[in-house]
């Protein structure tokens, strides 16, 4: 292998890819990145057996070939080089020579044949959405996924492709977030019209990092097979395995008819909840919400700490209600929403609350109350 390329392009690609590199691993080669020169492209691959990332960088190829080198070492060296042309050449099967201006490095790696091949998702079903939409889908749901690996299925995000578009669903059994992208924003690219998969939240986090909203940016191309899913943005690809199992029937927990509701300014509500939560820290962040005659009051009390009382102007409909929620389950969602006001609907103090952004019919958030 012998290639020359621009340092900043190489740096950016390495940064994207090497986040996937396994941190603590029993297989040394998994902390390496694969460099493969073919035609006018250098393929950079990292794979930790669960998630794989690949980036293609335009290069001038003098000699094709491949090898792997430790991601940290290569990344750190390239990051601190001056902006100039970088030349990389395989000196042996597993030694990379790198030169840039008057800097010269040799980096010891491992032969490319030992690197596990990144699985390809070729015969799957797929669709395309804009980067902005994909970012919305991920950001609006991912925080609701569980962190408890003992119930693996809840650590993932359910992706549903159907006639009405694309939907992402996440729940940790205390709360549920559902975000949809309507059919007109989704472009069919072949395969089945209806399918659903469960994607590890960590993979979506990586996808989210490579997205940038903007009109001219290329769309995200999603392709799923039985075993894995890939997200392609321009020259960057992320492949993840899928979680096996039956996702809980989430539709059942969305309250169908609610008789009480409150509409309130989102940012004010978020700020008030954050303040009141300071007092409630010792009480599992329990906040009590009272809705009556045009006001929403939030109160918290902790024996050792003291009390908090907040009042917000709100449009209240239906009977008065007193209900308690954990602040943690509200701050995430209010932070992610972008509308000016939110609509909060209830049926009773012991049933779940349904939270919606006032101007976004595609987003639903259900949260379980606490005992008063």
């Amino acid at each position: 292998m012998r290639v020359t390329c621009n340092r900043s392009v190489l740096h950016e690609a390495l940064q994207h890819v090497s986040r996937v590199v396994a941190g603590r691993t029993t297989l040394p080669i998994l902390s390496n990145v694969l460099l493969e020169a073919q035609g006018g492209k250098l393929r950079i691959v990292a794979y930790d057996m669960e998630i794989g990332a690949q980036s293609k960088v335009p290069v001038e190829t003098a000699e094709e070939g491949a090898l792997t080198v430790p991601a940290r070492v290569l990344g750190d060296v390239v990051a601190s080089l001056p902006d100039a042309t970088v030349e990389m050449a395989a000196e042996e099967r597993s030694v990379l020579g790198l030169s840039c201006g008057r800097s010269q490095y040799t980096i010891h790696g491992l032969p490319a044949e030992e690197f596990p091949a990144l699985p390809e998702v070729s015969d799957g079903s797929g669709f395309e959405v804009s980067q902005g939409k994909m970012r919305d889908l991920i950001r609006s749901t991912i925080f609701a996924a569980s962190g408890d690996e003992a119930r693996a299925i809840l650590t993932g995000v359910l992706l549903i492709r159907g006639e009405e578009g694309v939907k992402m669903v996440a729940t940790d059994s205390y709360r549920l977030a559902v975000k949809s992208a309507p059919a007109e924003e989704v472009k069919e690219t072949g395969g089945d019209a209806e399918w659903r998969v469960i994607i590890p939240a960590r993979a979506l986090q990586e996808v989210n990092r490579m997205l940038a909203p903007g009109e001219e940016r290329p769309p995200v191309r999603v392709q799923a097979s039985e075993q894995q899913i890939s997200f392609e943005v321009g020259e960057y690809t992320l492949v993840s395995r899928l979680i096996e199992g039956q996702f809980p029937n989430y539709a059942r927990v969305i309250p169908e008819e609610t008789d009480r509701s409150v509409e309130v300014a989102r940012e004010d509500l978020l700020a008030a909840i954050k303040r009141a939560a300071i007092v409630a820290r010792a009480e599992a962040s329990k906040l009590v919400f009272r809705m009556q005659e045009g006001t929403l009051t939030i109160s918290a009390e902790s024996g050792d700490v003291g009390r908090a009382h907040e009042e917000l102007a709100a449009t209240v409909e239906g009977e008065n209600i007193e209900i308690a929620f954990s602040a943690e389950y509200l701050t995430d969602v209010l932070g992610v929403m972008e509308s000016d006001s939110v609509l909060w609907q209830f049926t009773g103090p012991l049933s779940s609350g349904l939270l919606k952004a006032a101007d976004d019919p595609d987003y639903l958030y259900v949260v379980m109350p606490m005992q008063l």
Binding site: P116, A152, R241
Partner: protein, 382 residues
């Protein structure tokens, strides 16, 4: 390595092959049997057979060994085959619980990346952090359809009973000596050397192959047998010196086996700060000494065998063995008993030096003990 190529494990290999050809692969297996007979090799061969892209058309259980899947499995980088082992080379290092959680309990929920089956090999399954083996219970209980969990152990009794009861058990045996001799000869060893190593391996193929790569092992064996051959000429008071000589041979053996692994050993020692390197050497001595004692036992065994015209373990020492005085059968038996007892007490953490000295004194004082013990027998009879 194919399942059929396992040495001296016809029954285990047949059971595993039948599971594949008859489409009755179990979700969990317990590979049990003595140390070094090929359980780990069999686990990898089974994983290859389960995932091979191009199995032989007339035998679906024979992995090709050439396809990408087979190659990745033998390299240890197949995304669907996880080998979960203790991190260090030491006998005391265990598989940490977070490794089991991440690489088995969580990972089992991810669908296979390329293979048809996901195979998890816990080797050895009895060396997990305390109580952490229980974390795999749920995975053993309701595994996804594509998963196969293989627990490898030479000490199945150390597993809680809830584990084996959820696994299909595959027993591995000590291989026949002829099979090992044959295998060593295919590796290019001369017949007499192969026979000697095979006899000393006690049916443990892995050990025999290891010894075949270390000529020093044979040198240690020769030195020990020479030592035995010269015992009759020694003074009964030379016990301490004899003990020292046996210990030196055991150390030489450790050295011979260590040569390739020195790098990792020192890394191990430095990573666990405060552990004295001497302690590591001591642990190695403790594991190599039993083999040296086995060699000495084989000497006494041969003397008994020669008396009855039975085949010898060490045919190359036939002449020295038969140079025995008559009427010492009881003494040889007692010597064997004493050595076996020493071996046993070493396993129970006896002091190495004291145990060896006590043994050496017994071996040298044999005629005297014979007399005294026959006295005491007579005394008891009265």
């Amino acid at each position: 390595m194919r399942l059929g190529d396992l040495i001296g494990q016809t029954r285990a290999a047949t059971a595993l092959r039948n599971a594949i050809t008859r489409h009755r692969v179990s979700h969990a297996y317990l590979f049990s049997g003595p140390h070094g007979v090929g359980k780990s090799t069999a686990a990898l061969a089974f994983a290859q057979a389960l995932n091979c892209d191009r199995p032989s058309p007339d035998d679906p259980a024979a992995a090709c060994g050439q396809c990408r899947s087979c190659r990745l499995i033998s390299q240890g980088t197949h995304p669907d085959v996880r080998l979960i082992s203790p991190p260090g080379k030491r006998e005391t290092s265990v598989i940490p619980i977070d490794r089991i959680r991440r690489d088995l309990v969580y990972d089992i929920n991810l669908r296979p990346a390329m293979g048809r089956r996901k195979v998890y090999i816990l080797d050895p399954a009895d060396r997990t952090a305390p109580f952490s083996i229980h974390t795999i219970l749920k995975a053993l209980e309701e595994p996804p359809p594509y998963a196969v969990i293989i627990l490898v152990t030479s000490r199945p009794a150390l597993l809680p009973p809830t584990i084996p009861s959820r696994c299909q058990q595959v027993a591995f045996q000590l291989a026949g000596i002829e099979a090992i001799v044959h295998h060593l000869q295919t590796l290019g060893l001369d017949a007499p050397v192969a026979a000697a190593i095979a006899a000393l391996s006690g049916g443990r193929v892995a050990w025999a192959v290891g010894a075949a790569h270390h000529p020093d092992v044979l040198a240690v064996r020769n030195a020990l047998l020479d030592l035995c051959a010269g015992l009759h000429a020694r003074a009964a008071s030379g016990g301490l010196r004899l003990a020292e000589e046996i210990k030196l041979q055991a150390l030489a053996l450790s050295q011979a086996q260590n040569d390739g692994e020195e790098q990792t050993e020192t890394e191990d020692a430095s990573s666990e700060s405060g552990s004295a390197p001497a302690a590591a050497g001591g642990g190695r001595l403790r594991s190599d000494l039993p083999w040296c004692l086995d060699v000495i036992v084989s000497w006494y065994r041969d003397r008994l065998a020669a008396a009855h015209g039975a085949p010898l373990v060490n045919p190359d020492y036939a002449e020295a063995v038969s140079r025995r005085k008559s009427g010492r059968i009881a003494a040889d038996e007692r010597a064997i008993a004493a050595i076996l007892e020493t071996k046993h007490s070493l396993q129970r953490n006896a002091n190495v030096d004291l145990a060896l000295e006590s043994l050496a004194i017994k071996l040298l004082a044999e005629p005297a003990t014979m007399r005294s013990s026959s006295h005491s027998e007579r005394g008891r009879a009265r």
